[in-house]
Subunit: 403 residues, 2 copies
């Protein structure tokens, strides 16, 4: 028997270039099912839900959804909130007060945890609620899914940034010798690795990739930089903000107390400047850094078409599953075929998703730890789509006539 | 009587997304004129020319030029080199040795100075040489031209970055309260100002623009940030890396000796981190920064079509003028009509261009110094082309049912 009632959707965690595409997928699918009455959104994720800040999405203007699909960031507002002991109880009260029977939460593993806790409590109390997770994270660190919506776009941005910054260094390497691109990522190097996706030949950037999966050793780093610089006259490094030393301690992070979040994470950032200092001091060669920061996860100009489309599909699939009776699951992406690339959707329990974190597997990292492998490139290239082919002059020298 | 001989083209200064479009313009126009025999390029600008490092551009493959037009950065290699006393003499020897009669130098005011000195010496020595400057600089700080090729594209990147980072802050403002976008620019705020080009309403970023033309005063800055934050719950600042205090001293610059260039300029960068510290310490609100660095001047995905086309045109116009007998001039862009936007080319003496630097005029800066005016927006918008229109939900709240 169909479960009649209201649907509530929320967005959580770091915004992405495509998380609104998932929101539109949820809304458009919900509109098709008569058992779904009101379509609500909660403002700033569970933080707004705790305060009963709910908006009526059926009242939005018709043209808004179409434009929203390609608008980056989380239109409902996002949050980074760790549930307190009493919170699930309160959340359930709010859901019950508004006869919400379908809870769709778009986010990463913290969001899966939230959904799981609320769903469990509902079962316990005998309130019929179907909770579905919609995957979203630029970090690409969710297990049980081939990849995460949001990753293809940030990967495309970083691939293009490395191509562009590489062209810059190649032209001006006589002046600025080493360039660091500081990329996002706390524990997993997926974004950092994406810098390699536009590389076609040795001169192309990046020449070195520093992943959080590989303990950072200053001496090894410096000799790799020196080596590339000696060979090419310039060197471009993609370095993860979450680099860690052999003891697993972050190499750089904010020392400001204000910069520790609800999950106890210190704000990262500063790896670029740190590495530039290291290079200037030890190698006496000039280095500068680019830190695209939040721009990398948010660029609509560089959003991947595949990513936008898949983000939309997982939103739709989550609603469809919930209507069919599925509960407590996150929609996953399943690669059916590598070439031609084809993905379909699957399901994984929220509880399992919440507890896991997917790092770059060893076979995606080169044996010496300074680059990615062909296996990684094969995995990631279909997710970002085509990249431009830049020209390079052949540079036929003419004969010198002077001494 | 036509001047028969060889043409040499070089690229200088910071690369841009469109400087290769100018190079293609020069080559394609040169190919049309029978009096131009060899078409040469010098590698890394005058630095390569001093070493007689010259390449034959007629030997490049046919398909290369087409792709080169949209390839960012300087394909011949660039330099940042201050001429020494003996250098013009040596440069002239090289030009004479290779029967170069047309010297085309693509660059900013330092390049204009180089062209002017070499041209003067050639006249003095009775060697017939026509020197033409092709304008290029993301900084948009050349006088005598409405704007500079390269600027429209970096402006488009920064406008999009502010739109995207603004959307991010709007969604996650509950967590990351203030965002600084650190933009390029040593003395002129053209790039920093471009952050305003995508702003349509008060909530849109940026909320504050810190220009090098306006002396930086920490107290005034902090109260403007607090004000925006109190109103909106978040705040995005576009801040120039070249910010200066009331005494004209750079607020932040590298302290590393290695980071001082041939012109005595210290490498800039660090304003973002500096402002974040200032905010966290004094306002106790969380701030982070994005520093797109060299990516901003190099993004092919965000290159402006108008900019690409104009860069091509000034390259062609320079060759055409030289063939017609013009010498010692830089091609300029002249705005014939504001709406619809239409530009044609003009000429200005290299000597004058070399000596001048164009800052943001007072009527482009708001009276309180914290934003740009409509006059600036009207000036810059046609140069960057259309920007996306992002959607925003209307957010119709439903009635609360709980306490």
């Amino acid at each position: 028997m169909p479960l009649k009632g209201n649907l509530l959707v929320g967005q959580s965690g770091g915004p992405t270039a495509v998380i609104n595409s998932s929101l539109v997928g949820v809304i458009e699918e919900a509109l098709k099912h008569p058992e779904i009455e009101a379509i609500y959104g909660c403002v700033h994720g569970v933080q707004g839900l705790l305060r009963e800040e709910i908006v009526d999405l059926r009242k939005e203007k018709p043209g808004t959804l179409k434009r929203l699909k390609t608008t980056p960031s989380a239109a409902l507002g996002s949050c980074r909130y760790k549930l307190k002991a009493d919170d699930p109880e309160r959340l359930l009260q709010v859901l019950q007060a508004h006869n919400i029977r379908y809870l769709l939460y778009i986010g990463g593993n913290d969001s899966a945890e939230t959904g799981h806790l609320v769903g469990d409590l509902a079962h316990e109390k005998g309130y019929e609620l179907r909770v579905m997770g919609v995957p979203k994270t630029v970090d690409n660190d969710l297990e049980y899914t081939d990849h995460c919506p949001g990753y293809g776009s940030v990967a495309r941005f970083i691939a293009a940034a490395a191509m562009d910054a590489g062209k810059d260094s190649e032209a001006i390497g006589v002046v600025d010798n080493v360039k660091i691109i500081e990329t996002m990522g706390r524990n997993a190097g997926w974004i950092t690795a994406a810098a390699a996706l536009g590389k076609r030949e040795e001169r192309d950037a990046p020449h070195l990739i520093c992943l959080p999966e590989v303990p950072f050793e200053p001496d090894r780093f410096l000799s790799a930089v020196q080596n590339a610089y000696d060979r090419l006259g310039y060197c471009v490094v993609s370095a993860c903000e979450g680099l860690r030393d052999a003891e697993g301690k972050e190499v750089v992070a904010s020392k400001r107390a204000i910069d520790t979040d609800a999950f106890g994470h210190r704000q990262l950032g500063g790896v670029g400047d740190f590495l530039c200092d290291l290079i200037a001091t030890n190698l006496k060669i000039k280095a500068r850094y680019d830190k695209p920061g939040t721009i990398q996860r948010m660029s609509s100009a560089l959003a991947s078409k595949v990513d936008l489309e898949e983000a939309y599909l997982v939103g739709k699939a989550a609603v469809r599953s919930a209507v069919q009776g599925v509960d407590g699951q996150m929609v996953t992406l399943v690669r059916e075929s590598a070439d031609p690339y084809r993905c379909t959707t699957g399901l994984a329990p929220l509880e399992k998703v919440a507890a896991a974190e997917k790092k770059l597997p060893p076979d995606f990292i080169s044996p010496d730890g300074t680059f990615v492998t062909q296996a990684f490139l094969d995995y990631a290239r279909p997710l970002v789509g085509g990249l431009p082919k830049y020209a390079r002059l052949e540079m036929h020298p003419i004969e010198k006539k002077l001494s």
